[in-house]
Amino acid sequence: MLDLLLSTLLDLLTLKHMTFMMVGVTVGLVIGVLPGLGGIAGLSLLLPFIYGMDQTSALAMLIGLVAVVPTADTFSSILMGIPGSSASQATVLDGFPLARQGEAARALAAAFFASMLGGMFGAVVLTAAVLAARPIILAFGSAELFMLTLFGLSTVAALSGGNLAKGVAAACLGLAFGMIGAAPATGEYRMDFDTLYLSDGLPLVIVGLGIFALPEMFDLLRGGGAIAQKGQSLGRGWFRGVRDVMRNPGLVLRCSGIGALIGAIPGIGGSVVDWIAYSHAMQTSKDRSQYGKGEIRGVIAPESANNAVQGGALLPTLLFGIPGSGSMAIFLAGMILLGLQPGPSMAERDLNITYTIIWSLAIANLLGTALCIGLAPGIAKLTLVRYTLIAPFMVMVLCFAAFQATRSYYDLLALLAVGVLGVFMRRFGWSRPAFLIGFVLSLGAERYLYQAVQFTGWDILTRPLVLVILALTLLSLWAGLRKSGGTAAINTEGAADGSRAARMWPQLAFAAVVLGLFVFTFAEGMKNSYLAMLFPVAVACVGGACALWVLFRQSRGAVAAGSANFDTEAEAKDRGPWPFLGWFLGFVAVTGVIGFFAALVLFFLAFLRVVARCPWWQVLVLTAAACSFLLVLASSLNLLFPGGVLQAHVDLPWPLR
């Protein structure tokens, strides 16, 4: 085994193979930096080129990309407050506040260093586990997977913000949104309004961007300035970030372990790992007062976990041919195009291929971290730029990322709808992380409970592994709910101080809307046969009860409502996020008429001139830059932009088509 490890390493370390790996790493870096685009888009970009390449070069290139995305996506999470990909949503919670306090350099350094350690950990796990992972993976049946989704949901307790009832209601709302589409037990379509678009469910990338990115963008635009409010110390803090990581070796190790394990179990998926790691960091901290306001441990934990996921996720991909995530599915396709079929022999006959992959993972993690650190000072300067200049680019990239989901106009509408919900949830302190966790785990929870009961009956509760996970879940609940240092819970939705409103009706109205959504879920749920009805109805009842409780508290008046009274607009003097939401709405509407590309050009011209008040030359230069960037990306992905009414009637040349 040792000489095989060595010989595969030497084979990889030739100029040719390393060149291809650098190609993968570079593409991964660019794709990762762009918010919303992750491994799926990056691998699709490279897939057409692997034809005819030798296996080692191609694997090095693909893995190079996979390994660097969760490192590079940290940029937009920390600097822009926009999740770079679904794997780094939790990084936003503390990374972005750090950037706003002018500590972007420290946060980035900590994140990159933690990412690298996590990635290395993943590679080590893969080396050791590939020989023995089969029984471990097989030990996780549907019952265990169901318990893991419960474990994931238990983190809501820690992430529910200042008010537990609101947090639980938000999680239930996420669960309800996750149930849109075909029911796992019967295939009945729920809450799809008889549309093909919703019959597949809402795409995760759209929910993630809508719920986090859009509200953040509107808020930054209102501020009028740059992202960094105290931008002077930007260049410093690099060593401090690395030291922060060194000071928390246990946390890095535990979170990498969580990442590798969850990644290795097919069916849970990497998009919840960052939240589990984040809440783990919180639960194990003595002083939790800084979480959500710029706690460096809140950056280290998810970042060490999300890189370790990749190593773990390769196990089921290589051994069973079952991709653990969306990007692994495309990696698998790449392997088949190279003439490689995954299977048990990856741990026997084809061990050399497995080791090539492992070495690629380790080396690409190193290269990626080095590149990110090298690029960071330049990219971090973006936080000093007036945000009105950045916003149109963000709109472009967000919409581009959103319509990667199904390549249709509906993707933009869905982004808008979820974005509006996100704006209100943010304003009234309904935990968006809780919503997202509910959304991600929704179908998994329902599917695995149904399958476990169908496969084994209710004696699933006596399986030892189930009991272990149950104990962990209870522990996590207790740790999330316990009081620490006088503060009840963290503020995932900004500071509670200054958010006590005197005027209660906006909050009451939103709580009523939430209640209405649960009533709708209940009614829609009841239309189904028993198995497809159970989950929506149960979620609607729990969520509805919580929403009622919140309404009850809020209706007793501003003071009596206590922590249920939360309105970040309470003391706002401006016109709120509405003008900017209006701009976005206008853009989506115009897209519906003249198509995405033409609408984008108009949007850039108008926004830069009217809102950013740029001189015409600057307007034109920025618009041209944006368009050429978009065209290069779209043409290399063979993309058509979503069309509008115009395109339905007139034949236009690409990119207007």
Partner: protein, 362 residues
């Protein structure tokens, strides 16, 4: 299911008119300098995507004028969205074509009301068959299909992707054989189904050919699993034949005879055969938009036929195509018809069966 519209009638007329013309030598269309779009109504990374991406560079090489061929993924609605869209919008100029799969044929054959396309109106230019093998854990003591009678009264468990998915084929197969099988839905892919069997949760399973070779054959060699039957392939008359990848494994119809001692017949068997042919023996057709002129259709057919003689393709085809005879030229028509049609009474029977047993509402 699809009402006869003026358009369908016209297309039918066009097909009739072009039939004798097609026999003559047609002027080939030259695609020099053009970019052809191969629409795949699935996301990147799926089976159909890999299949198209493997073939695209070869097709480009054999098309007159060597145009570039790009894959355009239009995912959504379990492939109905992309196919509907192509059917309604693609221009019949040979610049775009579509490759669907068994997962597209199943809702079409079931008469899913969201389906807005008709296979008969799209001229096929290539059909790529595949196969699969159904197997059982060795612990049941069943050595082959002839001993399936031993299972009488026992309930087997199958981990299914859904009652209206491609897994309707094994469902109909078990029904026709008279096996008592509980279907547990919600699997996302056959890989998860196999995992459930390896964990002991499911007790009967099938895998498509390449996954069977790679993942199940080691289990069979270790004495942990027993192959029962393959889906088989069909000849031009639709009669099942053994799968060339698994010449030693009986196909379903043989297995039925081994178990029951007589040939299968009746509407349940007809229904099974229609769906099995659509899902495996005649899955993954490549089609041009409705009303495409005959010379373009012929150009495509010739390019696909010539592509299948490319020595480089033949040397590398195993991973993406397997051992199967790819239908080109005159073989396309019969196979395409078999894979995209079903007798009305068989369709009605399946719809009733799914509604009665699995609450499917059509």
């Amino acid at each position: 299911m699809t009402p006869i519209t003026r358009r369908t009638l016209m297309a039918g007329g066009a097909a009739l008119a072009s039939a004798p013309v097609a026999a003559q030598a047609q002027a080939r269309v030259d695609f020099s300098g053009r970019t052809l779009e191969w629409v795949i109504p699935f996301a990147e990374g799926g089976g159909s995507d890999v299949w198209a991406r493997f073939l695209a560079p070869f097709l480009s090489r054999h098309m007159p004028g060597r145009p570039s061929v790009i894959i355009r993924n239009v995912p959504g609605g379990g492939s109905i969205t992309g196919t509907n869209d192509f059917y309604a919008r693609a221009r019949p100029d040979g610049m775009s074509f579509i490759g669907t799969s068994g997962s597209t044929q199943v809702p079409f054959l079931l008469g899913d009301r969201r389906v807005r396309f008709t296979y008969a109106n799209m001229p096929p230019v290539f059909v790529s068959p595949t196969g699969g093998v159904c197997y059982l854990p060795a612990r049941f003591g069943v050595a082959n299909a002839a001993e399936l009678g031993k299972l009488r009264g026992q309930e087997l468990v199958y981990a299914s992707q859904g009652a209206t998915s491609l897994d309707v084929v094994p469902m109909l197969a078990f029904e026709a054989l008279g096996l008592r099988v509980r279907h547990v839905f919600g699997m996302r892919g056959r890989g998860e189904g196999r995992l459930a069997l390896e964990r002991g949760e499911a007790s009967i399973d099938y895998q498509t050919s390449s996954a069977y070779l790679r993942q199940v054959v080691p289990m069979v060699q270790a004495g942990n699993a027993v192959p029962l039957f393959s889906w088989g392939v069909v000849d031009a008359q639709g009669v099942p034949q053994r799968d060339p990848t698994f010449p030693d494994i009986p196909h379903f119809t043989e297995a039925y005879e081994m178990m029951h001692g007589r040939k299968p017949s009746g509407v349940a068997y007809d229904a099974y055969l229609a769906f099995a042919t659509a899902g495996f023996a005649a899955q993954k057709p490549v089609m041009l938009p409705p009303n495409t002129p005959a010379n373009i259709v012929e150009t495509y057919k010739a390019a696909f036929a010539s592509m299948m003689t490319d020595p480089e393709l033949l040397a590398n085809k195993d991973a993406a195509l397997g051992e199967y005879e790819q239908a080109t030229g005159d073989a396309i028509g019969p196979l395409y018809r078999l894979g995209t049609t079903i007798a009305p009474d068989a369709r009605e029977w399946v719809r009733n069966y799914l509604t009665t047993n699995h609450n499917v509402r059509f």
